[in-house]
């Protein structure tokens, strides 16, 4: 029965190859990360290893790794173990690490960081503020964006602000001046009418009734919030007003009809009228200006959203935070690294604006000097936004489904398959359900 034995060993060989292939596959990213680590330098202090995790593009990976190298040169007793990946799979991996009590010391988070505070996973950084972490040149509203109930859980790595992007060439063609920096909703409407009259076939504005951030701005101007102190504070009447506003624009031809709006949902540059030169204006975050500009020849400019209501609706939207795990044994060193990322001149120059516009005014001024024309516009826009901003509200927990319901409700209104009152109620209900979850 020699053949059986041969077959058996052949089979075992295949299985072994299979198993080793699998296991080495899953190990390789960590190995790659480890090989980046510098050799263990001798220092007077005790040796410390920090685990850090972030998501992003290759540009961000390269820049962040460079900054870590710089930091290690300065503090030879600290070594790093980096884990970095694209945003796909980042949350799965992080959630598993956190759930298993094995979270990295330094974690990059988005505006979802309150979810991790609720899980008691993050360290209160307040004791390090003003000591390890320098906050001299940073605006209070930027610092407080990472705090809950007076405790700081994340250092803001950069901010963006919502505004109106407009096509400068089309405005000039229409023979109009640039929009005023402090325009109101009424002035916005009048301006749109002038554009419509001068530019037949081109929509003055995109349909943004489905844009949760634009809605947020509108609600904030009423001194309310989509979500505040654990409650939904906007009402059905607010939503009716919002939908009626856009319905009016639609009926006057200031925004496209339902069908065009369903084709161009304005959720990204690839689904946007402005890129095709078919609309003059659209609402977007400042960090997206470059993405839109890259796709078109006409020059784009950016202006604040219209003013109105009782208070300013403008806020600075933090792009990402660096947080420290509650389980870390090296909180001080972690705090030192966070400071390095947001204040060190060399490090901030390497990181640039990839994570949004940095919070420190000194860093901003330094970056402005070498900024590209588009970045220059973004910097100027953010300066204006900082002056006019009011501290942001907490993001609606489990907000993904709510955003999807808003999109759907706005479409129902546009296609007239639902009356405004009903659609408005749906949006409020969905927000309340998201909070309850």
């Amino acid at each position: 029965m020699g053949i059986e034995k041969k077959l058996l060993s052949f089979f075992i060989a295949i299985v072994l190859v299979f198993i080793t292939a699998c296991s080495s596959g899953s190990n390789s990213p960590t190995n790659a990360g480890k090989s980046e680590q510098g050799s263990t330098n001798k220092g007077s202090d005790e040796k410390v290893e920090l685990r850090i995790m972030w998501w992003g593009s290759d540009t961000r990976h390269e820049a962040t790794l460079k900054v870590i190298e710089l930091f290690k040169e300065k503090y030879p007793h600290i070594t790093f173990s980096e884990e970095y990946l694209g945003s796909d799979g980042y949350w799965d991996k992080l959630n598993i690490l956190v759930a298993g009590g094995n979270a990295p010391d330094i974690i990059q988070l988005g505006n979802n960081y309150p979810d991790y505070v609720a899980k008691d996973a993050l360290l209160d950084l307040t004791p390090y503020m003003g000591k390890e972490i320098n906050i001299d040149n940073t605006d209070e509203s930027i610092i407080s964006s990472g705090s809950i109930d007076g405790k700081l859980y994340g250092v803001n790595l950069g901010s963006n602000a919502l505004g109106v992007i407009y096509n400068k060439a089309l405005v000039e063609k229409a023979g109009l001046q640039a929009p005023k920096a402090d325009w109101t909703w009424e002035e916005f409407e009048a301006y749109s009418r002038d554009l419509a009259a001068a530019l037949p076939g081109i929509y003055p504005m995109a349909d943004q009734a489905n844009n949760q951030h634009a809605l947020n701005h509108f609600i904030r101007q009423k001194n309310k919030a989509i979500y505040e102190d654990g409650k939904v504070t906007f009402t059905q009447e607010d939503m009716v007003e919002w939908f009626e506003l856009w319905e009016k624009y639609r009926s006057e031809g200031l925004i496209p009809d339902a069908q065009i709006a369903a084709t161009y949902t304005e959720t990204g540059p690839d689904k946007s009228l402005i890129v095709e030169g078919k609309s003059v204006m659209k609402i977007a975050f400042s960090n997206q200006l470059k993405a839109y500009q890259d796709l078109m020849k006409d020059e784009l400019e950016m202006v604040l959203l219209p003013f109105g209501g009782e208070v300013s609706g403008i806020w600075l939207q933090p792009s990402q935070f660096m947080s420290v795990s509650k389980k870390t044994k090296h909180a001080k060193e972690a705090a030192m690294f966070l400071d390095f990322m947001v204040n060190d001149p060399e490090a901030t120059a390497i990181l640039g604006t990839d994570r949004g516009i940095p919070g420190s005014s000194v860093v901003r001024d330094a970056l402005k000097v070498d900024a590209t024309p588009v970045d220059q516009k973004v910097f100027n826009f953010i300066d204006l936004a900082v002056e006019n901003s009011r501290s942001m509200d907490r993001e609606l927990p489990n907000g993904g489904e709510w955003a999807s319901v808003l999109m759907n409700a706005a479409q129902k209104v546009a296609f007239k398959s639902s009356v405004i009152q009903e659609a408005a109620q749906e949006v409020v209900d969905a927000a309340e359900q998201a909070v309850k979850k």
């Binding site: 053949i3 759930a99 069908q259 369903a262 489990n398 999807s404 759907n408």
Partner: protein
């Protein structure tokens, strides 16, 4: 030579195996014996066993458990009994997704099968270069499920897409944006599915080749025209193949996902008109992090498919002709 010898041995062993089963001499010795005799084949089957236990049954068991919990990945799953199942019937979007999916299944499957049968009949005429045509018509089946085709479809049926240009230039009709119009969006996806008729067509073609030519000759002698021949010879003899294609098509259609995901940009829009069941399930699980609810939805889908399949099999005695007289 040795291998043949081994095979023969195994072959003879077959009778011995049945002996073991007929006259059980205790389960353990027979298992041992089975193992001794068949260790190698079982080991070769091992990858398949691993696959079904680790990649299919394991996740199925855990999804069944999760369907009774509230689970957002971050916090541990929390037992909620049958809440997820109860919630579904108050969930308007869930009901809408059921409606969309049933509409899709009941339009796309019959159309696709008719198309497949029609082309199979044409190809069965004994034309030259059959294999070339067969390949050409099969290509959409290979491509149709892909993201690239869904993107292409989106462009073709868009406002300025090739479909509208054709309508405008040939018939002077200004078309709508087929994808963005809530009335037509679903049917543009149905069309995409019908276009992929290649796989049922190949099976129909094989079925048609099985129909003995003598039957047609006899019918011709009796004066039956082509139409009559088709309905009294071709269709009855083809019913087992139709059954197979129907069941497979139905199961596939219930699980359709990619096309609506890409064409609607992952939203199921406009106004949820392309919110397929699986797309809503995906949104619930991976966009809104309600894994418990999504798991419950998956089990309901399984149940629906099982019922539909059972109903079809239940009716076979009325319309499927197995040709062996044994009804």
């Amino acid at each position: 030579m040795k291998l043949i010898h081994l095979y023969n041995n195994e072959h003879n062993g077959g009778t011995r195996l049945s002996n073991v089963i007929v006259k059980p001499r205790g389960i353990i010795p027979s298992f041992k014996r089975l193992w001794k005799k068949n260790a190698v084949p079982y080991l070769f089957l091992l990858p398949w066993f691993l696959g079904i236990f680790i990649l299919t049954l394991g996740p199925m068991v855990s999804s069944f458990y999760l369907s009774f919990t509230q689970y957002n990945i971050l916090s541990p799953a929390e037992w909620v009994g049958i809440d997820n199942y109860k919630k579904m019937f108050d969930d308007d979007r869930f009901l809408k997704s059921l409606k969309v999916t049933f509409t899709y299944v009941f339009t796309s499957v019959p159309l696709k099968l008719s198309c497949a049968l029609l082309v199979a009949l044409l190809l069965n005429k004994g034309i030259r270069g059959l294999s070339i045509y067969r390949t050409i018509y099969y290509i959409p089946t290979l491509l149709g499920g892909s993201v690239a085709i869904a993107v292409l479809w989106r462009k073709m049926f868009g406002l300025e897409g090739i479909v509208n240009q054709f309508l405008l230039n040939v018939f002077n009709i200004q078309g709508t944006d087929w994808i963005a119009n809530p009335k037509t969006a679903l049917y543009s996806i149905v069309l995409l599915s019908v276009w992929q008729f290649g796989s049922p067509m190949i099976i129909f073609l094989a079925g048609l080749k099985q129909v003995p030519l003598e039957y047609y000759e006899a019918a011709q002698v009796d004066g039956a025209n082509k139409m009559r021949q088709f309905f009294t010879i071709t269709i009855p003899l083809l019913t087992p193949v139709i059954l197979f294609n129907l069941v497979m098509g139905l199961i596939g259609a219930f699980q359709a996902f990619t096309q609506s995901f890409i064409i609607s940009g992952g939203t199921g829009g406009p106004i949820d008109s392309t919110l397929f069941y699986t797309l809503y399930l995906y949104m619930k699980g991976f966009a809104f992090f309600e894994m418990g609810y999504a798991s419950a939805m998956a089990w309901i889908l399984l149940l629906v498919i099982a019922i539909m399949t059972a109903v079809i099999f239940g009716t076979t005695k009325y319309w499927v002709n197995y040709g062996d007289g044994g009804k």
